[in-house]
Symmetry: C2
Subunit: 172 residues, 2 copies
């Protein structure tokens, strides 16, 4: 059975996506592959049968999770591990729990790093470019609040872009 590459993400409000895109269009070569998002589960491969099963599990997880608030106050970087700069989501128990549930037994894929909720705004820059951009952005402060009431399962096309497969609404 043929396998596709899937990922799970939450899209913040249009306002936050527009702010993230104002940076991404300059500093992220993958900008056009997917709208600004919070990754809940890193990409994994699965066949249709597995996805049908996962989809039921994801509906259950969504139903048991109430919509929740997130807050963004500043920019941070994963340097020196990668040159990724991101809008940092303030520590959030619900996001962490969702990430844990989506990596529990029965879910395919593995998480390479500790879960740090974030919205990427810059990646794949050279070391010098990264230093320049991060030097400018890390002194910005933000006061962004949003309510997350859904997440989405997406699959990747051959050109690297992502299409939404299904939406899971929280608390319903």
């Amino acid at each position: 059975m043929s396998q596709l590459t899937y990922g799970i993400a939450a899209f913040p409000s249009k306002k936050i996506q527009d702010i993230a895109n104002s940076y991404r269009m300059r500093y992220d070569p993958s900008y056009s592959k997917i709208p600004p998002h919070i990754t809940l589960k890193e990409s994994f491969t699965a066949d249709q049968q597995t996805i049908d099963r996962l989809s039921k599990d994801l509906s259950k997880i969504a139903k048991e999770t109430e919509p929740f608030d997130i807050e963004i106050k500043k920019v941070s970087s994963f340097s020196p591990i990668t040159h990724t700069i991101y809008l940092k989501i303030e520590p959030n128990d619900t996001l962490s729990k969702l990430n844990e549930q989506m990596n529990a037994e029965g879910f395919p894929g593995e998480q390479a790093f500790k879960f740090v909720p974030h919205i990427t705004i810059s990646q794949d820059l050279s070391e010098d470019e990264h230093s320049d951009v991060y030097g400018t952005l890390k002194i910005s402060s933000f006061d962004l609040k949003d309510t997350i009431d859904r997440f989405q399962l997406l699959y990747q096309l051959d050109d690297g872009s992502w299409t939404v497969y299904e939406t899971y609404k929280l608390g319903e």
Copy 2:
């Protein structure tokens, strides 16, 4: 209450999206704004209250519609109205009915042209470019089949790209 721009579309299988993208990346400047899709309802503006109401109507429409097959055999063009070249979806009663239901009384927005189900693969070329590309593509024949089992409500960001707001599964 602030208004966003929304649209309703169905994404065909990854296979058909990959084929469409192989043309779009060369012939469609808007290629990266949204994955390849069949537009079911042209873009319209609405506030959150209207969307909450529409979403219930769309769930009902989806529930009453069984998954259905589509077929693609050839490329066509909207010339001379626009220079849009597309994968033509063979006449399909279910697609036409969905389009009608989404433009019935109570739904915002208006449809400028008769509904012609299609997947755009080229647009916004000059008249000469359009003639060249269409001359090459119109002699291609395809034998693509797919089953549509869901459609999606999307909203547009400031940069023109689209984010999925919700997925409606047919027959459920």
